[in-house]
Symmetry: C2
Subunit: 315 residues, 2 copies
């Protein structure tokens, strides 16, 4: 039904904003031919400015063989922009009515074997695909800003999406140099934005209550959790910080602190089932690596990050 994702060479990116521009730059840097659809010719200068900014960073990260800004084609006719597309990244306006109308058109124009990934950060694919006559191949492919630098893409289908299309998107984004996260369920905010939003709302509460300023919040994050979070997510950070006992020690020892007023968010009940999911999940990620090896690797990565930041900032 769907072509081998390895064979895709032509991508169409819809949208002239920072997300559409970021995706365009990313796909060009990974060596694809990219057709960018802009609503209006007048958007071209701002769009090219996004691309040129992104290209400097992408060059420093290393371009794929043959990658070139010359392989970009800008088109203002939607149908023409889709003619040779083997994959479509949609980054249109974040309004449900606009997206539904767009997907109605895309569903009629594009052969049903072409997967469409939506960059939406707030809408659900089950809603977006409502008026699409070929909804099986429509998926969420949500990047993190800036999309030309941050590797994450969250992937999830709507009610009418085929599981094969979700799997295909996972493979394709990986081939295209991204870190795909195939979600288990369609939920508002997906995974990363939910986590970020919890942190953000706690920050707003603190500022509202005079407990911290925006500057305080940022000092705390940049110098505290962030350099470690690049190396280990919050689950593995706690797993490794607790030594040999890992996440089991963390939950058994600090479980009661989930009742403490350390945030305005109430924790879930720490049931045996939740405990086991956390412990088993961390053990699965750890695999054969022992505690000592994981500490050493974490520390090497944090040192690398801190030294890199110092180097960039001293220039």
């Amino acid at each position: 039904m769907y072509p081998d994702p390895k064979t895709v060479t032509r991508v169409t990116s819809l949208g002239a904003g920072p997300i559409g521009g970021g995706w365009t730059a990313h796909f060009l840097a990974r060596g694809f031919d990219v057709t960018a659809y802009l609503h209006d010719e007048a958007e071209t200068p701002a769009f090219m400015s996004i691309l040129n900014t992104a290209w400097r960073s992408l060059t420093e990260l290393g371009l794929a063989p043959g990658a070139s800004l010359d392989r970009l084609r800008i088109v203002t006719d939607l149908e023409a922009s889709l003619e040779v597309a083997e994959f479509v990244q949609e980054s249109g306006p974040e309004r449900l009515d606009v997206k539904q109308a767009l997907y109605a058109k895309l569903g009629a124009i594009l052969p049903p074997s072409v997967i469409i990934g939506s960059s939406t950060s707030g809408l659900m694919m089950s809603d977006i695909q409502a008026d699409c006559m070929t909804p099986e191949r429509t998926v969420i492919g949500h990047p993190f800003n800036p999309p030309y630098l941050l590797p994450l893409v969250e992937i999830v289908g709507g009610k009418k999406t085929a599981p094969e299309a979700v799997a295909w998107a996972g493979e394709f984004y990986k081939i295209a140099g991204k870190a795909p996260l195939l979600m288990k369920k369609e939920i508002p905010g997906f995974v990363a934005t939910r986590l970020q939003e919890a942190l953000w709302r706690e920050a707003l509460h603190m500022v509202a209550n005079g407990e911290a300023t925006p500057e305080d919040i940022d000092i705390a994050l940049m110098n505290g959790p962030a350099p470690r979070m690049v190396s280990q997510g919050q689950c593995m950070a706690f797993h490794v910080a607790c030594g040999e006992g890992g996440m089991a020690t963390n939950l058994d020892q600090f479980g009661p602190s989930l009742k403490l007023p350390w945030t305005r968010l109430e924790a879930p009940e720490l049931t045996q089932e939740l405990r086991d999911r956390m412990v088993d999940g961390c053990n699965a990620v750890a695999g054969d690596n022992n505690f000592e090896e994981m500490v050493v690797q974490r520390d090497r990565e944090i040192v690398g990050v801190l030294n890199a930041l110092r180097q960039v900032r001293s220039k």
Copy 2:
């Protein structure tokens, strides 16, 4: 009353665990003479193992002139460990009764001009200092794990702490190579842990509800918000992501999304006052840097971080 923090050369670190060990390694790496108090001689091998692991990373980060592991003295008599101390970092067991008893002793033994910083992550200084006869110089100096690598130290006094002692600690930790955050109010979890805990509880909810696995959570964090959060905290990340309009655009445009179920944490009411605090706070941090410069700097730092990680991981 308190000596010039620049003149401090001798630090006493209390505690044999990962936090006490981490602090000891950090102060040694910054060129201090460090006396480490261990409760029991038998703790020495594990303590030295923490130090040796930390020392490798600290060496790669760059030692201060004259810094040496030879400038460590291990002592198992509390009074003797405090004899020449010009600053004390306390990383004892995280139990209020134990800390209160310890601060009663410290308060009697140490000259009142010696500042005591507590590494506690969950207790309040107003409680810890209850039985201390010289509580004016007792402050929280809460590090982030691993304390020999992550720069953050959150500083706040208790009800009986002198404001001068809090200010002194801020200066001293900065001289000692840390990123001090002087807190506005004494609140449970301080700033960084509150933010981290909100994120952690949202993660637990998601795992409990089968919305994500621990692995999913970590993939999302490591590849999404984390590499950017090293360069910009959440406030400046939103400020810069919104272009020229900055935080004002963010709040005016996305304010309504604070009502959306993007996390289980309800947001505060977005009052005019909260809006202004956020906007003014971000503008103050931005200073004279324009939007374009901040984007370029963010991107350079993210590129540096991603390349550093790739380099470490390829070895």
